[in-house]
């Protein structure tokens, strides 16, 4: 009796494994068949992706995602991701498309398909107290700098610039730590810092240094999804051509970036 039960369990599991390997369909077809596009965006990175009190994710990137869903003629479902799990989610197929403030680096291109052209760009800069009097990156050597866990610039800042990194899981903690004086400066994307500095409580803080490591941001699809990648490539080109990116910058009070202007003139 026990052997019979074991046999049933074994056969179910084997079929399951076999079934999993058979189900290799195209993501774009899947999305159209399902009628829903699942996009991974940040939910704790204002203004690019954050929550409103009802729990809905809003911001720059959800707006981009909504446009993609509109073009495909499907519904949109947003899944909150963080830097440490966005690539895994895409690889596992949990999300179809990832628009999550991810910098386009060669290492990341090995793991997922990053769509060309890039949709946005930012550099790394710091938010620091005016009283610190920071003028150059060398002054940060050996000093405590707040970071976000999983950011691509963490390694370079610590290795090359000799910074003592204090990495937090989220931006709320990092901003709080900066305010409490647990670190001298907070290294983050300059676009986010300019947005944050508009708030009155940061009046004693500045972004004094030159942005380093200018990195374009890429949105990504799963490795090997050629038809979806081509579709997204056309979409992003269209966004630049029509100035959609700049419209969204204005809508979300983000300082107009040179990157967006350059891309618009390139694709006009």
């Amino acid at each position: 009796m026990h052997i019979k039960w074991l046999g049933i369990v074994a056969s179910v599991l084997t079929l399951g494994v076999v079934g999993a390997s058979i189900a290799r369909a195209d993501v774009l077809d899947d999305v159209k068949k399902r009628g829903t596009l699942v996009v991974g965006t940040k939910a704790d990175y204002r203004p690019f992706g954050y929550l409103d009190p009802s729990g809905k994710i809003i911001g720059f990137e959800p707006d981009l995602a909504a446009d993609v869903a509109k073009r495909l003629g499907v519904k949109l479902e947003l899944v909150p991701v963080v830097a440490s799990n966005r690539i895994q989610f895409l690889q596992q197929g949990k999300i179809d498309l990832m628009i999550a403030t991810m910098s386009d680096t060669p290492e990341r291109r090995k793991t997922v398909d990053i769509v060309d052209p890039d949709y946005y760009a930012s550099g790394t800069n710091v938010l620091a107290k005016k009283s610190e009097g920071l003028k150059s990156w060398d002054q940060l050597k050996g000093k405590k700098v707040c970071l976000i866990q999983g950011s691509f610039y963490n390694k370079e800042l610590q290795e090359k610039y000799g910074v003592e990194g204090v990495a937090f899981p989220g931006t709320a903690e990092a901003y709080a730590a900066l305010r409490n004086g647990n670190c001298v400066a907070f290294a983050y994307d300059d676009t986010a810092i300019t947005g944050e500095m508009l708030k009155p409580e940061w009046s004693a803080y500045e972004m004094p240094l030159d942005s380093i490591l200018p990195q374009p941001w890429g949105l990504a699809v799963k490795s090997g999804e050629k038809s979806f990648a081509d579709f997204m490539s056309k979409t992003v080109t269209d966004w630049h051509k029509t100035g959609f990116i700049q419209q969204l910058e204005q809508k979300h009070a983000i300082k107009a970036t040179k990157f967006a202007q350059d891309m618009m003139s390139k694709y006009k």
């Binding site: 895994q88 107290k129 990495a167 937090f168 305010r179 004086g181 647990n182």
Partner: protein, 243 residues
């Protein structure tokens, strides 16, 4: 030593198992410092929480009702709230209040982690020592009184040594939990093993390998502690008491 590191590089090139913490010098030093920080945190918190437990068990038997209720409130508050939230509360909440006039914080994040975790484990230790103290027969205490020991002397020389031996198994359990709870310090950027490992796996994209390394490392660390405590238990065993 270089031969060993190079073997891991060969392992990566042939099998794809990427253990950069062995063959990459930067990652190697990072991981070593993380491991050392975990050991430091664990040892400091163990010592402090036992001290808090002893003091708390003493105050619990005080004649002042205020003292007793303070200890009782402390235990209930720290036992019924999540340690992660306690940590956040200390570091971000209290940390924002305790600042020098210049604006820099008084207490570092490592210090807050030690304080928070010691108080958390200390609350459990007070209860453990209390039940140990209650298991000491009253006749022993009366005999000490008859011999002219003061209350403090009775506690330090008679009651507590016996109570300690009786509560050693439960204390052992709690200290093992404490070592495991040190991973929470990751959330306030204390560079302990889990924090360092997460940095390594987000840089090198070798999540499964680092996970396995972490499991093995903690298994080994806790195993050492359990073995040591077991030996200590056997050495301190009181004949006629317990199993």
């Amino acid at each position: 030593m270089q031969v060993v590191w190079e073997w891991f590089r060969w392992l990566h090139q042939t099998t794809g198992i990427n253990l950069t913490i062995f063959y990459d010098a930067f990652d190697r030093s990072r991981f070593a410092s993380g491991l050392w920080m975990t050991v430091k945190l664990s040892v400091t918190c163990i010592v402090l929480s036992v001290v808090i437990g002893i003091a708390g068990a003493w105050v619990q038997r005080s004649r002042l009702r205020l003292a007793r209720s303070v200890v009782h409130w402390y235990i209930q508050a720290f036992r019924n709230t999540p340690p992660l939230v306690q940590l956040y509360f200390f570091y971000f909440g209290l940390g924002s209040l305790l600042r020098t006039p210049g604006g820099s914080p008084w207490v570092t994040n490592v210090a807050w982690a030690i304080i928070s975790l010691s108080f958390f484990a200390g609350a459990f230790n007070v209860e453990i020592f209390r039940s140990g103290i209650e298991a000491v027969p009253r006749t022993t205490v009366e005999a000490a009184e008859a011999l002219g020991f003061s209350r403090l002397q009775t506690y330090l020389r008679i009651v507590f040594p016996l109570a300690f031996r009786i509560s050693l198994p439960a204390l052992n359990n709690n200290l093992v939990n404490l070592v495991k709870t040190t991973t929470l310090a990751y959330a306030i950027a204390v560079p302990e093993m889990l924090y360092v490992s997460s940095q390594v796996w987000s840089d090198e994209l070798n999540v499964p390998e680092m996970m396995n390394v972490l499991l093995v490392a903690y298994f080994a660390l806790v195993g050492v502690l359990v073995y040591g405590m077991h030996r200590w238990e056997r050495a301190l065993r009181v004949p006629g008491f317990g199993t």
